[in-house]
Structure formats: C-alpha cells, structure tokens
Amino acid sequence: MTATARAAWAAFTERANAEYQAAVVRIGFALCFGGFLLREWPDRRVLYGDRSPWSFGLAQQMLASNHAFSVLLWSDSRWWFEGVYTASIVVSALLLLGWRTRTTSVLFMVCVLSIQNRSVLVGDGGDNVVHLMAIYLAFTRCGRVWSLDARRRLLHPEQADGGRTGVALWSAVGVLLAWAQFSGIAKLGMLAWGLYSWSTVFWGFWLLGGLWWLLGRRAESVRPGEPRALMDTLGDMLHNCAMLVIAVEVCFIYATAGWYKIQGSLWQGGSALYYPLHLDYFDPWPGLSHLLASHPVPVFLITYGTVMVQVSFPFLVFNRRIKNVLLVLMMIEHAAIAVTLGLPFFSLAMISADAVFLPTGFLQRVGARLSRANAASRSGPPTSGARQRLCRPPAESRRVMPRGR
C-alpha cells in the first residue's frame, strides 16, 4: 500500500470523520422538520390526516404500487394519525437536542418517511431533501458532539454503555418493533421479511445495538474487549460511508440543478431570475421581488452567478478557500430564496445540507463561542471548563484499540 492509500484506509477504519458536520446536519434537519410540523399544526389533518383530500384510499392505492413506507397507512383512525404526528414533533426535538441519537435518528427517519409518504403530493424540493437526509442520518454517528449524548459521556463516563435508560429505551423500541412486526398492524407488506427490506434495517439496528451492549458487559474490565472495539470500528466505517453519501448527495443536487440550467435559453439569456420572481405561488412580497427583478444588471448577475456556483460546486469543494466562499454565497442565496420566494423550510433544508461542507475549525470556534456565551449568561465568567469541553469529542471515553495482542 502506498502512503496515501494507507492514510485513506486509516481515515476510513480508525475514526468517525466529520463529527461536527454530522452534528450540524442533524440539528439543521431536526429543526427544519420539527419546525415544519409545528408550522403546519393547524392544517395537519388536511395535509396528512383524516381530513386530507388525498384520502386514505388514494394513499393506499399509491403506496400499494410504489411500496413506499409510512406507518400512517397502517390505520385510518384519527388518533393513530394524531399520535404519529405528535410523536414526530417530539422525536424531532429529541434529535435536535441529541438525546440517544442512535435510536432517535432511526425514529426520525421513520417519522419523516411516514408523514411525507402519506401525502407525497403536497411536498416540494425541501421535503425531498429532508426525506433523503433523514435516511442517511440514521446511518451516521450524529450525536458525537453538540448533543445530550456528548454531555452524558462527559459527565457520566461510567454510563458509556447507555446506562439504565439505554437498556430501557432499547427494550421499549424492541417491544414496539415486535408489535409492529408480528401483530399484523403493518399493512401493504411494509414490514415483509426479505434481505432488502425495512425489516432487515430495523431489526438489524436493534440487534446490533443489543449485541454491542452485551459485548460491553462481557468485557466489563478496564478496557473493552476486541469484539466490542471491532463493532465500534464497523460503526465508524458505516458513519464514514453515510457522511460521504450526504456530501455527494449535496453535490448531486447542485450539479443537476446547474447542468440542466445551462441548457435553458432563459438562463443563457441572463434573465431567468425574472420569471420565478413573477410566479404568483412564490411571491409573498410582490413589491420586493418586482423591485429585485426591475433592473437587468442584478438580474443578469444573479442568473449567471447561480449557474456558475451550482455547476462549479462539485469540483471546487476540494479547494478549501474557494469552497468556503461558495458556501457563503449559497447560504446567502438560500436565505434570500426563503424570503423572496416564500420557501423558508426548503431554504433551511438546503442550508443544513450545505453545512456538511463547513470547515471543522469554524464549527469548533462557533461551538466554543456559543458555549462561552451560554456559560457567561448563566453563571457569570466561565470558571468551569466542562461546558466548553462539550464541544470536543471526549478523548478519554473514546474506545481504546486493543493494541499488541
């Protein structure tokens, strides 16, 4: 092996990379989906529940043919719907805070898929991004930093195995899963057995979680044993793959959006921006958007700038400095889209996805500053370092590689 290949192998197998980026993506999408559910609370029954013009029967027909996953199709009872919707808000909040992320990230995926697939026709591009990232996040270690999990690992290292709450949560989820699997409530074959099925994913997560805990029990000495370290390493490798998929997915989004635009005559002509700003459905502030579209120079610059940034993004992410400039430009553009086109949740989803490319040093500085500000506002000058240490991975509690066996 060459040195580069060796370094790549080490990066792949010896650590979970991009912990801060995973945390930012987790926080961003939990905020986006939870905020969306709260926003739609008054209309929830019309969008996803018993009052939907997209009736339970229509949803059944669609899901019977496309095999999408949604627990909302398991019962047409209003209270089943209300329960799932409310639980989704709670799960989003828990994921935002980083509570038991190994479990909540999977539950979050179930909630996102269930609600969106119930009425896929009320979604837009923002929902699509949330959908994909919710699946990918379930395979990451997104609670390593900036989370209640990290706090617990720091304050209670003896509970590294999850403590009693961990065992209780694992048992409860197991009971829930067994009930869904064996009671016959799962409809349309959503939990049908098969190698490439949701049953494999859910039971796989659950069984591996149990095995991991058991291996920790068996070697409850000072140092965890090799099988446990091996499982940790496999989890890191899975996380690394999922983070790569998230990053590449963001590149796909920009590359497709940009490459298809190049072929458009209006984008070539430099006036494409004018049109979305005059579509009634995306025009909450007509005065503002018409002002923005009133002069050829800004319209041209933003039209060409958008295409250039989108097309170049997948190639320039490898250049640190240019990447950061592009990220700032994209986040500004998405913030502007949030206001001018009336798409705040789409924009928040895209900004959260962009955040996977933010530099680690920047994220650490932001985290340190936030926790300092927090500590200062609570108890005067920051005397305890504990709060700031929450921003760093707790090195002392990370697994120890069994060396020299």
């Binding site: 092996m1 060459t2 580069t4 060796r6 192998w9 197998t13 926003r39 029954r45 018993d50 009052r51 939907s52 013009p53 997209w54 009736s55 229509l58 496309n66 095999h67 999408a68 026709l121 009320v122 979604g123 837009d124 591009g125 699509n128 959908h131 994909l132 699946i135 090799e226 099988p227 091996l230 899975l238 793959c241 790569l244 998929v245 997915e249 796909f252 497709t256 959006a257 298809y260 635009k261 458009g264 005559s265 984008w267 002509g269 004018y274 049109y275 979305p276 005059h278 579509l279 009634d280 459905y281 909450p284 502030w285 050829p296 319209v299 705040p344 949740f345 060396r403 020299g404 066996r405």
Partner: protein, 234 residues
C-alpha cells in the same frame, strides 16, 4: 496516489530504506481483520452502488441508465426518488390558475350554475404577506393540478392509468373541501374545472410584449356524490 506502473515510469519510486512501514491495523486479530476487510468491501460496494444508481437516475437519459433501468429503479424508487431540475432547464413562465364552477339541484328541479370560482386566487391571497406559507396554500392545489395534467393526455384529455382516475378524484375532493356541500342553499350535484394560463410577461429590457393573454382549458362536468365528501369534514 496510485502505484507507478513500471512500464511508464523510468524512475522507480524509492522505497523507504528504514524499517518497513508500520502495519496499517496493528492489534487486530486475524478474524477481526477478516471481518474488517469484508465489511469494508461490502460498505464500499454498497456506497458505490447507491451513489451510482442515484446518479444515473438523475442524469439525463443515457445508454447506461437505459440498459440498467430496472436495476436503477428498483433501488432508487420510492425512497431515494429525487428531482433537482429546479427552475431548469427554464423556469416556469406561466401562472396557472385552477378555477371551478358548480351545478346545483334546486327544489323546483332547476339546475342553477355558479360562476367561475378561482381556487388558486384563494391560495395566492393566503401566501401574500406571509413569511411562512403553508403547504396547504403553496403546494396542495398547485401540485394536484400538475399531477392531474401529467396523468392525462395533453391532446384529448383522456386519463392515463393508474394516475388518471386517482388525480381526478383528488382534484375534485380539493374543490369540494373548499366549496362545501351547498352553493346558495342548493346541494352541489356536479363540478367543472378549467385552468386559466397567463404567461409571465418577460422583462421590458428583452423587448418582450408587456401584456399577456390568458388562455383557458375546460374539463368535463364531473358528477358529485356523497361519497366524494368522505373525510373532508364538510
């Protein structure tokens, strides 16, 4: 990066003269190493498969995506479905308003008709001055119409299976939910839809005409029954 093929590189890369490089994974027992290697192979293959199929699904139709379309679709649909042609290749240049009128049944046997009711205008009114528009106003009717249009022949308006009948039921129920059961005291017996399409007048500096003509497309009358209201809360 890669090792130099000896045939093309006249100067062989000097190997470090010192002790051989440290084992990349010290400490793992042989079974663990085998597990790691197998897991790495599976994970890399799965990641490559996922990214490859998603790429082919979103790329323009090409020889590879046509050749392997069933394998690609099997993996990508439904949960990894995606479409990022946002405002591309050209942004939408029409404002499409969905309008509806109803026929009712009066006690004397007459069948009075309503005028055209602009459902889209209700959406737009709810979006105006709203920093956080609801999906109910921004997506529900708009995308229901897109869905209807994509499952009906553009030339003669006949439905395409299986989405055609489903999209009709959906559109009708959206209108009925907003209209209720009665119009001016008489029960609604039939509804008819039309779309009013108004192109966005292009920017003045491109020399585009400053006024636009609205064109209308009329659908058939659809019978309304009590079942159509099921679950609508009306």
């Amino acid at each position: 990066m890669a090792e130099h093929p000896t045939g093309t590189d006249p100067i062989p890369e000097p190997e470090p003269a010192a002790a051989p490089a440290p084992d990349p994974s010290p400490g793992w027992s042989l079974p663990s190493r085998l597990v790691l290697a197998a897991a790495a192979a599976v994970l890399i293959a799965a990641t490559a498969w996922h990214l490859g199929t998603v790429f082919l699904a979103i790329a323009p139709s090409n020889t590879l995506s046509q050749e392997y379309s069933s394998a690609i679709d099997a993996h990508v649909y439904p949960e990894f479905e995606q479409n990022w042609q946002l405002f591309a290749p050209n942004p939408l240049q029409d404002n499409i308003a969905v309008e509806v009128r109803v026929q009712t049944l009066a006690p004397d046997g007459a069948t009075p008709e309503s005028g055209w009711i602009d459902l889209t205008a209700q959406d737009i009114a709810a979006i105006h001055d709203n920093p956080v528009p609801s999906h109910v106003d921004q997506n529900l009717l708009r995308r229901a119409w897109d869905y209807y249009a994509s499952w009906h022949n553009q030339s003669d308006g006949t439905p395409i299976d299986p989405g055609g009948p489903m999209s009709q039921e959906y559109l009708e129920r959206i209108a009925l939910q907003r209209l209720g059961r009665d119009w001016q005291g008489n029960p609604i017996s039939e509804v008819q839809f039309r779309t009013a399409t108004t192109p966005v007048t292009g920017p003045a500096w491109t020399g585009a005409p400053s006024t636009a003509r609205t064109t209308y497309a009329l659908l058939d009358w659809w019978l309304v029954t009590g079942d159509d209201y099921q679950g609508l809360g009306r």
